[in-house]
C-alpha cells in the first residue's frame, strides 16, 4: 500500500472546478477510487448529481476518457467499451492494459440500473462498478430510492402526521450482487481512504466484474452541516449501519473499523447516534416513534450478526 504522500503526486483524474455541492462526498469517493489504479482508465457515468456536475458542456472535470449515455445503463455502456477493448486488443489495435469503471448513484444501482448491472456482471466483463450511495435521488431533489433507510423523510416518502417517513428497509444490494458469485464485491466508506482504495485496487485487478458500494453522505438530502461529511460516513460505520466488508472470491471478510468492532476492540455505537445526527430522521426523535427506532436498531443488529456469521466461514 502506497502512502498518502505518494498518492498526492499522482496525476489528477478528476479536477477541481466541478459544480458539486459543498460537502458532497462524491468527488472524494471518485478521487479515492481513481487513485487505486495507475493503469489507463475509462469512466462510464450514470445520470445523476455526479454526472451533471462534472461534465457541463463545454467544460469537464475529467482528465480521463469519460462517457455518460443514460441513467439506467452505465453497466451496459461500459460492457460495450470493454468489449471494444477486448476485440481491438485481440486484433492488435490496442496495446495498453486498460481498466474500466462505472460511477453511479444508488438510484442508478439499486433501482433503474439494476438490470443492466446484473446483466453485465453475469456476462463477466472486467469492470469496477462503484455505487456512490447517498440513499436517495438527490439530483432531482431528495426522493426515495431502494437504498433509502427506513424512517428517513424524503420528498416522496415524507414524514407526515400518519406515516413516519420511508416504510421499508433498503435492499441489501451488496449481498444481491455477491449472489452473482462475481470475483469481488465490497462496502467502503470515504472516511477510511486506505480501506476504500485497497478495495478499489482489488476491484480493478479482480480479472472480472467487481462491485464497490460506498456510503456517500449528502448534506442537502440528509440535512447536516456540510463540514461533517467525513464524520457522517465514519458514524455510519461505527453504528454498524454501514459495515465495511468484502466478498472476495467466495470469502466474506469484515475490514477496518468494522473488524475492530467485530473483535470487541472498538465500540458499536447505538443507531440513535446516527438518527439524531441528521435532519431527515428528526421526526424519529419524538418518543411516539421509539418502537420504530428500536426496529431500525434490531435490523442493524440482525444484519451485523449475519455478517459476522458469514465472515467466520
Amino acid at each position: 500500500m502506497i502512502s498518502i504522500k505518494e498518492m498526492t503526486a499522482k496525476p489528477v483524474r478528476l479536477t477541481e472546478g466541478h459544480r458539486l455541492c459543498a460537502g458532497c462526498s462524491e468527488p472524494v469517493v471518485a478521487k479515492q477510487v481513481l487513485l487505486a489504479t495507475d493503469k489507463p482508465v475509462v469512466v462510464s457515468n450514470a445520470t445523476g448529481c455526479f454526472e451533471v456536475s462534472t461534465s457541463g458542456y463545454p467544460y469537464s472535470s475529467w482528465n480521463v476518457p469519460w462517457i455518460h449515455s443514460a441513467f439506467e445503463n452505465t453497466a451496459a455502456t461500459i460492457s460495450g467499451v470493454e468489449s471494444a477493448y477486448r476485440v481491438l486488443k485481440r486484433k492488435g489495435k490496442i496495446k495498453d492494459d486498460m481498466r474500466f469503471v462505472c460511477f453511479a448513484g444508488d438510484g442508478a444501482t439499486y433501482d433503474i440500473g439494476f438490470q443492466a448491472l446484473s446483466g453485465a456482471i453475469e456476462r463477466g466483463h472486467q469492470f469496477l462498478f462503484v455505487c456512490m450511495n447517498n440513499e436517495a435521488y438527490m439530483n432531482t431533489g431528495i426522493q426515495r430510492s431502494g437504498a433509502t433507510e427506513k424512517g428517513a423523510s424524503t420528498t416522496t416518502c415524507p414524514s407526515g402526521t400518519c406515516i413516519p417517513g420511508k416504510r421499508e428497509f433498503p435492499k441489501d444490494i451488496t449481498k444481491i450482487v455477491a449472489a452473482h458469485e462475481l470475483p469481488y464485491a465490497a462496502q467502503a466508506s470515504p472516511h477510511n481512504w486506505k480501506d476504500l482504495i485497497e478495495k478499489a485496487a482489488k476491484g480493478f485487478e479482480a480479472g472480472g466484474p467487481a462491485f464497490l458500494n460506498v456510503i456517500s453522505p449528502c448534506p442537502r438530502g440528509w440535512r447536516y452541516d456540510s463540514a461533517l461529511t467525513i464524520d457522517m460516513s465514519k458514524l455510519a460505520v461505527e453504528t454498524c449501519l454501514w459495515p465495511l466488508y468484502e466478498y472476495d472470491n467466495g470469502k466474506w471478510r469484515i475490514t477496518a473499523e468494522s473488524k475492530r468492532i467485530a473483535e470487541g476492540k472498538a465500540e458499536k455505537r447505538p443507531i440513535m447516534d446516527w438518527l439524531k445526527s441528521q435532519g431527515r430522521f428528526k421526526h424519529l426523535m419524538d418518543p411516539k416513534h421509539s418502537a420504530l427506532v428500536e426496529e431500525i436498531q434490531a435490523n442493524v443488529d440482525r444484519k451485523w450478526d449475519e455478517l459476522i456469521r458469514l465472515s467466520k466461514h
Binding site: 461534465s55 476518457p65 469519460w66 451496459a76 460495450g80 467499451v81 468489449s83 471494444a84 476485440v87 446483466g119
Partner: protein
C-alpha cells in the same frame, strides 16, 4: 459470386460475416432472431473475430453498441418491434453522439395486442430519433443495404447511425435467391473502420455525452440536422460505387412506370414489389399506372418525390402503420413534398397490412381502381373487416 438461396435474415447475417464487425450486441426477438443466431454460428466457428455480446435486453444491446462505438469499434445489432421500442431512449443518444452504429430492424407490429407479424409501427416510432432509415423490398436489397449502411454511417460528412429495415417474415423469413458480393470485394468496399475520437485513445481523453444546457443543446441538434442533410449526396455516392461493383443500381426512390403514368401508388418495403406486379397487370389492361418505392425514408427525399409526382392525376400513399388521430407518416411526408410544387395531384392515404395482414395483387388493384374512379377518401383503410 453465384446466386444463392437464403431468407432476408440469413442474408443480413452473411453481410455481417463478410464485414467482420468488431462488436455485435445480441438479444433475440422475432422476426430478427435468425440474424443473431446465424451470426453466433459464425462466431462459434471462428469465421469472424467479432466480440459477440449476448445482452440481457435490447436497451442494453443499444447501450453496448453505444459504449463500443464510442470506444472505437465498428458495432452492429438487430432488433424488431418491442425491442426497438425498448431502445427508443438509446436511439436518440446513439445519434446525438454521432456514432456510426448499424442496426437491422425486422419490421414488426407493436403491442398491443401482441402480434409478431409485419408492419412499420416500430420503425415509425423511431422516425425522429436521428437515425438514417433505409427500407428493403426483398432479400437482395436487405443484403445490399446492409453493406451500404456501413459506408453511409461511417462517412465523415455523416457519422450517424443507420437503420436497415426489412419486412418481418415477408423478407426476413421468405427464402429467395440473391447474389452476394465476393468476400474480398466486400472487405474492399466497406473498408477498415477508422474511428473518430475513440475513448480507448486514453492519451487524448474525450468526453462523450456531457450535460448540455440551453446555451449549447440547440447547436448540437442543429449539427445533427446538418449531418442528416449530408446523407443524400453520400447515399448517391455510395450507391454509385456499389453499382460499379455489382451492376445493381439503387437510388433514394425507385420509380416504376412512373414517367407517363396518371395514377401512382407510393410504398415502402416488400409491398413495393407487389405493386410492381399490379402495375404490370393493369398496364396490360391499358391503365396508365405506376408506382414509387421509397428506399431512403430518413432523410426524406422530398425533391425527388415532388418531381416524380408532378402532374399526376392522383397519388395513393401506402402506410403500413396507423398514426392515431393523424394521417400516415409516409403520406404526410409525400403530401408535404408535393406541396412545394405548383401542381398538386389529388393525394390520398391508404393504411394497410397491419400486424402482418396479407396484401396481395388483388388487394392493391383496389387502390388504383378507387384512385381512377375518384372514390378514394383522404384516409382509407385497405381491406379492414367491418
Amino acid at each position: 459470386m453465384k446466386r444463392i438461396a437464403a431468407n432476408g435474415d440469413q442474408a443480413v447475417a452473411l453481410s455481417w460475416k463478410q464485414i467482420n464487425p468488431d462488436v455485435c450486441a445480441s438479444y433475440p426477438i422475432t422476426p430478427q432472431t435468425i440474424i443473431v443466431e446465424a451470426f453466433s454460428d459464425y462466431v462459434a466457428d471462428g469465421e469472424v473475430d467479432t466480440e459477440y455480446v449476448c445482452s440481457e435486453s435490447e436497451h442494453s444491446s443499444m447501450s453496448i453498441c453505444i459504449g463500443a462505438a464510442a470506444a472505437g469499434a465498428r458495432s452492429v445489432t438487430a432488433t424488431a418491434s418491442a425491442g426497438l421500442a425498448f431502445m427508443w431512449e438509446m436511439l436518440y443518444i446513439a445519434a446525438s453522439m454521432r456514432l456510426p452504429i448499424v442496426m437491422t430492424v425486422a419490421n414488426r407490429a407493436l403491442s398491443g395486442p401482441i402480434n409478431i407479424h409485419c408492419d412499420h409501427s416500430d420503425a415509425m416510432g423511431s422516425r425522429d430519433s436521428g437515425w438514417v432509415q433505409i427500407f428493403a423490398e426483398n432479400v437482395q436489397e436487405a443484403y445490399d443495404n446492409s453493406l451500404m449502411s456501413f459506408r453511409i454511417a461511417e462517412h465523415p460528412d455523416v457519422h450517424l447511425p443507420v437503420m436497415n429495415c426489412l419486412d418481418g417474415f415477408i423478407v426476413t423469413h421468405a427464402i429467395e435467391s440473391f447474389t452476394p458480393v465476393e468476400d474480398d470485394q466486400v472487405k474492399k468496399f466497406v473498408g477498415e473502420y477508422k474511428p473518430l475520437l475513440p475513448l480507448l485513445d486514453w492519451k487524448n481523453p474525450h468526453s462523450y455525452g456531457p450535460f448540455d444546457m440551453p446555451d449549447y443543446y440547440y447547436e448540437h441538434k442543429y449539427q445533427q440536422a446538418m449531418a442528416m442533410n449530408n446523407v443524400i449526396p453520400v447515399f448517391k455516392e455510395v450507391a454509385a460505387e456499389f453499382e460499379k461493383l455489382t451492376g445493381r443500381k439503387y437510388d433514394l426512390i425507385e420509380k416504376y412506370m412512373v414517367d407517363d403514368a396518371e395514377y401512382v401508388a407510393v410504398a415502402m418495403g416488400s409491398t413495393a414489389g407487389t405493386l410492381k406486379a399490379v402495375v404490370d397487370d393493369l398496364r396490360k389492361e391499358g391503365h396508365k399506372v405506376g408506382c414509387i418505392k421509397v428506399r431512403l425514408f430518413r432523410p426524406f427525399p422530398y425533391q425527388e418525390i415532388a418531381k416524380a409526382l408532378e402532374g399526376k392525376k392522383a397519388v395513393a400513399v401506402m402506410d403500413r402503420v396507423i398514426s392515431f388521430g393523424a394521417v400516415g407518416p409516409l403520406f404526410s411526408d409525400v403530401r408535404s413534398a408535393e406541396f412545394d410544387n405548383r401542381i398538386h395531384p389529388r393525394t390520398v392515404n391508404y393504411v394497410y397490412g397491419l400486424g402482418g395482414r396479407d396484401v396481395g395483387v388483388e388487394d392493391l388493384k383496389v387502390v388504383f381502381r378507387e384512385m381512377e374512379a375518384g372514390t378514394a377518401k383522404n384516409i382509407n383503410y385497405l381491406g379492414v373487416k367491418q
